[in-house]
Symmetry: C2
């Protein structure tokens, strides 16, 4: 069992009336003048943005607005946000939206007190010891950024996408009202749940298989997400299951399901290149890669895949044929992806055959110019990465 | 599903070398002069106290020592601690021990900045908005105080035992080294696991049975504790299972297994009077009461007890006889208690028949002089409480 640090200080305020507490929470965590950061039209259309701004105003908290965050949040908007915060004397950032808005807020929070370019943080040239405090009003369960220490930013110059993790940017609070997720389109709901499950599966597929408590918690979370996504795809306004997905999204990525084990994260790396090259939804890219990754690596620890098949995917255990049971678990996961409208290969994701050149380019990027192996469940060199992309062609 | 707030800010540092980080953590959370608070001989005998003091000294952190905490920690020692902290200008309290030491530390932490008597806090006459910061080096997994917001103190004048909960006293950090629990006697180990499981069972037995995620997480935790306690009773130096019990103890009581549901807590109330009257170990008192509580209330929600029987206690589900399955789950729990050396009734706990007068006295106390009902799974009036004590005579 690996030593671990578990640190999840975010105050989660969960429920139908949770938004009403936004101004009190901002003040509790030291905010007097707030940057309200958001994405596109949905938080305007739903009235959430107006509601939040009115609540802040009523409680005497000044607000400055900055919208326009897009998926794969851009460095240029982060720069704008930093300038705005400095000009206006902002002392708190309130993210109203999903993972992209929260990640963009984290980058702004690093940048305000730093004299250099905040991109230095993502280039690991500068390690911040301080950041503006941030809080969130979550509207999309998927990325888990509301309780995680990480953020991913895309620099439009060269389209470089880099992630960075640091405890100083963990949200002070996260307001979660499941009703705000009723209007998410089916595809985005399914891609979100795929991302949530993958955050835990990346930790679950490990060679450190002596931490039963963490493993059992992970399985509990995966089983629940699997059932809840069917319920909300059938009935988008099902509070019970929207709530479970929303809370599951935070628990899947706040490290609870990784305590004492080494995570793998190869599927995320493989998927990142795919979504980067084809501008595909993050969760869908993970679904497109996972079955091929799984078939390529399962022999490294068959018993783990058997456990997954039986305890998560409800595959009957054929005790005489562990490999067969393991493969049936992977097939069951493919069927699950198909049923929720996710792709199970690259063709399903992008709608055409991926070319040899594209595979080579993704392999080069994923292996950082053939210098870096990926994964921990099984170490993947560039040749392995290329083989998995080929298996995933479809 | 109930709205909820989840707040677990304690930084958990877990592993064999975790103690080495104690001085750095104290400094990180603002400590310059520390009260090192502990119980009896075991932390001295094991060398842990010396190790901690040396590490603090090496890093230039001044330490003042106060030992002598006993189970059911006393108000008089809390008063001593408050005086000592004021006299010495202590700005951080480090609890080295189990739940009693941590609870005593929390009381001192409330008392130092308060001008009145700290007992006011437990009498709910004063609600602290501030407290000295505390940290812990945990040696006994059971109470979960290292991540919880609660503490229980006994006032020797009249032997009144009162609990109080407040987020301001949550520990800043908790150092957990499973090796420190190798020397715990079998009885204390078993009583600790009983307490851990009961913290989650109090939340699990609820009428809010629409929060599958929380329920599944609770079952995962209960199953793991059940297996791990057998392993460590057989092999006290089994790191893997000692670690799971230690981490399980924190997760069982940091509210994770209660998100979205209303807990019951009647067994704790029934057990408190028992341990108060007969000076019995807290965990053992819970085991003595739970089977009778369960048989008295299970009809209020049979399906919940069936679920417990099947998913936690491995009882085969007789679909034609839910009540029968529920009762088999209670019997299986009794067998589990017997196998780990815990009592299943009052006679087993105190070694003789409890008298009618004693039952009446406990009923009076548990119902706060016949004014207060207990429980939420099923509301228990004084007559119910008395009936359960009678069922539990043995």
């Amino acid at each position: 069992m690996k030593d671990f640090v578990y640190y999840a200080p975010t105050e989660v305020v969960f429920g139908e009336q949770s938004e009403d507490k936004v101004a009190g929470l901002v003040k509790k965590y030291g905010g007097h003048k707030v940057l309200v950061h958001y994405g596109g039209g949905s938080v305007k259309k739903s009235g959430l943005l107006d509601k939040v701004c009115n609540l802040l105003k009523e409680e005497g908290v000044e607000a400055v607005l900055l919208g326009g965050v897009v998926p794969n949040p851009r460095l240029s908007l982060v720069h704008q946000g930093i300038e705005l915060c400095r000009k206006e004397g902002v002392d708190f950032i309130l993210a109203v939206g999903g993972g992209s808005v929260i990640d963009s807020s984290k980058a702004i929070a690093y940048g305000v007190p730093y004299e250099g370019d905040v991109w230095d943080v993502y280039l690991r040239k500068y390690n911040p010891e301080t950041a503006l405090p941030i809080g969130c009003v979550l509207t999309i369960p998927a990325a888990g950024s509301e309780m995680s220490d990480s953020s991913v930013i895309t620099n439009e110059e060269g389209w470089v996408k880099l992630g960075y993790s640091n405890n100083v940017c963990r949200a002070k609070f996260a307001i979660m009202n499941p009703c705000r997720t009723y209007t998410l389109p089916a595809y985005q709901t399914a891609a979100g749940v795929t991302d949530i499950m993958m955050h835990t599966m990346e930790r679950y597929f490990t060679q450190d298989d002596d931490m039963d408590l963490t493993t059992e918690l992970a399985e509990a979370l995966l089983r629940t997400m699997k059932e809840s996504v069917f319920a909300v795809l059938k009935d988008p306004c099902n509070y019970r299951h929207r709530a479970q997905i929303m809370w599951g999204g935070s628990l899947a990525h706040n490290d609870l399901t990784g305590c004492g084990v080494t995570g793998d994260w190869a599927t995320h790396q493989l998927g990142h290149e795919l979504s980067g090259m084809f501008d595909a939804t993050h969760g869908a890219s993970l679904a497109a890669m996972w079955p091929s990754w799984a078939r390529y690596v399962y022999k490294s620890n068959v018993s783990r895949f058997v456990r997954f098949a039986v305890n998560v995917m409800d595959v009957p255990n054929d005790f005489t044929d562990p490999e067969g049971t393991a493969l049936k678990g992977i097939e069951a996961m493919e069927r699950f992806y198909c049923r929720i409208g996710m792709p199970i290969n690259i063709k399903g994701l992008i709608g055409r055959e991926v070319t040899d050149e594209e595979i080579k380019e993704m392999t080069r990027k994923c292996s950082r110019d053939y210098t870096t192996a990926q994964g921990a469940f099984q170490t993947l060199e560039a040749s392995d990465i290329e083989a998995i992309y080929r298996m995933a062609k479809g």
